[in-house]
Assembly symmetry: C2
DNA sequence: CAGGATCCTCGAAGATACTG
DNA sequence: CAGTATCTTCGAGGATCCTG
């Protein structure tokens, strides 16, 4: 986009976020990380997701090679499974710093 | 939210994403990870961000204890710096799997 | 059951202009 | 320089109804 990459706007971390930074992708990946699942299983396992968003999220993940579909059953591809480590990093950070986050928010509120 | 946490909708990974999953937070964190910076420095270092979004993002990060402000200079807190590892994981995954991602997308396009 | 099609809302983000 | 204030657009995501 820009003349040089002196700018950070196209930081590679954002590539990953573009893939899983939306509301549901990470949750779907975690659910499929447990094991392959049928559409209806995913709906109740995840909870709170609409059918529209589940379908849409699965298709997006499929287009990007993270999920493969066979009949109504979805599973992570190897590429998708490789994301579980990243998701773990996200979750690990949140759990590790729960207290610090609550402190920070309450001291401003 | 739900009766039990049998559902994944409140997956802890989403806590982190709620913090840095937006368009600019990660980029600001990376820029401040290099060193503390003034507002105007951030604007040109990042590139493509509007003043409104920079201010807004900085304030959000400050509210959550990730960034501290002194005069017009912003810096990461320890909590903020602890996120650099997570950001690295995101960026690392993207760089490691660039080819696989391009393949997947082109084979569907 | 596994979706697709439609309509609607709401907030993220940009553009622009103004201020101490 | 370091913001604040407005206006607007655009798309994510929910709700509802329809279908093989």
């Amino acid at each position: 986009m820009s003349d040089f990459d002196v700018f950070l706007a196209d930081c590679p971390a954002r590539t990953t976020l573009a893939l899983v930074g939306d509301t549901w992708s990470v949750v779907v990946i975690v659910a499929l990380g447990e094991r392959p699942r049928r559409y209806s299983e995913l709906l109740e396992r995840i909870g709170g997701i609409s059918k529209k968003m589940l379908t849409q999220t699965l298709h997006k993940l499929e287009r990007n090679g993270l999920v493969e579909r066979e009949a109504p059953v979805y599973a992570l591809t190897d590429l998708g499974a490789s994301l579980l480590g990243v998701v773990g990093a996200l979750a690990g950070w949140a759990e590790e710093h729960t207290d610090a986050l609550l402190d920070a928010q309450s001291s401003v509120a």
